[in-house]
């Protein structure tokens, strides 16, 4: 039941989902400290879309901003989910990689610089196939290098969610922040239905999709570090918190044995439901880390 206080909170919140990539990126910085790098007026657009009859966007759907978060140097890279499904092409991939590499160079030169990646993406841009795949590989390599020095924080708020190759980038992040509207997974429901049939996964069943890929489930399974409302100050607070905290003791993706043993112990002879999985795997990696 929604109480009157909840209603007021709901009505007064500043939606993050309603912001475009530029608005989302800008909202995370300490006031007046951010500036955009390689913005739309620099006109670094994809050279591949127009020749395939697709209208390009001047920033290629990737917004890069540099500034301070919680008083510390940070770079934010935001993918625009509304442009070509937030897909990674040659230009957007290079922008993200370069931003992460520069943050790494600054960190190595005594100015630790965190990165926040706002992922609303279905993965590789099909029109730029191989270059998109290469971009995802480069982004992953850059995250692995940067996260030795400073945290990489992934925020997926929705409504696109984070799928395909970029879900691997999310998985390599130091911390993952999700909302209930976010979905996170390797193969998206539509792809699984297309490849394995509707008996395997009915992608039009939203309750099922969110029970598996949804932010609340991912958080409850220990695969994300914060579950927040669709509220800009709350999301910015979560990001500030993780930047102030610094690097995790162990990265989630380094806990190979933990996850291998969990999968090994899973009885696949019967159908598991999402709640059982929460109970079985619910301990978050950071809690496991404290033991």
């Amino acid at each position: 039941m929604i109480t009157s206080r909840d209603k007021t909170t709901f009505l007064n919140r500043q939606s993050f989902l309603e912001l475009d990539a530029r608005g989302r990126a800008a909202a995370l910085f300490d006031q007046g400290t951010s500036r955009e790098l390689v913005g739309p007026f620099d006109r670094v657009e994809s050279p591949w879309l127009a020749i395939q009859d697709v209208t390009p966007q001047e920033d290629d759907g990737c917004v890069v901003m540099k500034g301070k978060i919680a008083g510390k140097a940070a770079v934010v890279v935001a993918l625009e989910g509304a442009f070509q499904g937030g897909s990674m092409g040659e230009v957007s991939g290079e922008k993200m990689t370069a931003a992460l590499d520069l943050a790494c160079a600054d960190s190595e030169n005594g100015q630790p610089t965190s990165a926040v990646i706002l992922l609303e993406t279905g993965g590789v841009r099909l029109q730029e196939a191989n270059l998109g795949l290469a971009a995802v590989a480069e982004v992953m390599a850059s995250i692995l290098t940067l996260r030795k020095h400073a945290p990489v924080i992934c925020v997926t708020a929705g409504t696109v969610g984070c799928f395909g190759g970029m879900s691997l980038a999310a998985g390599l992040s130091s911390y993952i922040v999700l909302t209930r509207e976010a979905r996170l997974g390797l193969n998206g429901p539509e792809v699984i239905e297309q490849e394995n049939g509707i008996d395997e996964w009915d992608s039009s069943n939203r309750a099922l999709v969110f029970a598996i890929n949804g932010g609340e489930q991912r958080y409850a399974m220990g695969l994300a570090d914060a579950l927040v409302e669709d509220d800009t100050p709350q999301i910015a607070d979560a990001v500030r918190g993780f930047i102030a905290k610094g690097l995790p003791h162990v990265h989630r993706s380094s806990q190979v044995e933990l996850y291998r043993s969990r999968i090994g112990a899973l009885d696949t002879s019967r159908q598991w439901d999402p709640n059982e999985l929460r109970r079985a795997w619910g301990t978050s990696a950071s809690e496991e880390d404290k033991r």
Partner: protein
């Protein structure tokens, strides 16, 4: 994708550039920049073919009220005439803040 260009007479200097919108389904982005001379130039790339007359009607109406000397670039993914006009007016508003 179709490319369309227009020129309009203009007389007022503009000091600030503006960028609004996203090239999403039924949406468009507008880049408005101050330029030199006595004419404004509009460069449109649209995913929808065959609507040159409609674009002309929308921009004729826009430039019947707007006299800034600017270069406008529109990247369009199927915006309706109404949303095109709103984005143009939003770009003007941002450039004059």
């Amino acid at each position: 994708m179709e490319q369309i260009e227009f020129d309009y007479p203009a007389k007022r200097r503009v000091s600030q550039r503006a960028h609004v919108g996203v090239v999403g389904s039924g949406e468009l982005e507008v880049l408005l920049e101050p330029t030199e001379g006595e004419r404004s130039h509009v460069f449109i790339r649209t995913s929808v073919h065959g609507f040159g007359e409609t674009w002309k009607a929308v921009l004729d109406r826009f430039f019947s009220k707007y006299d800034g000397i600017v270069r406008i670039q529109i990247n369009d993914a199927g915006g309706t005439p109404g949303s095109v006009m709103l984005r143009l007016e939003q770009a003007v508003e941002v450039s004059e803040q």
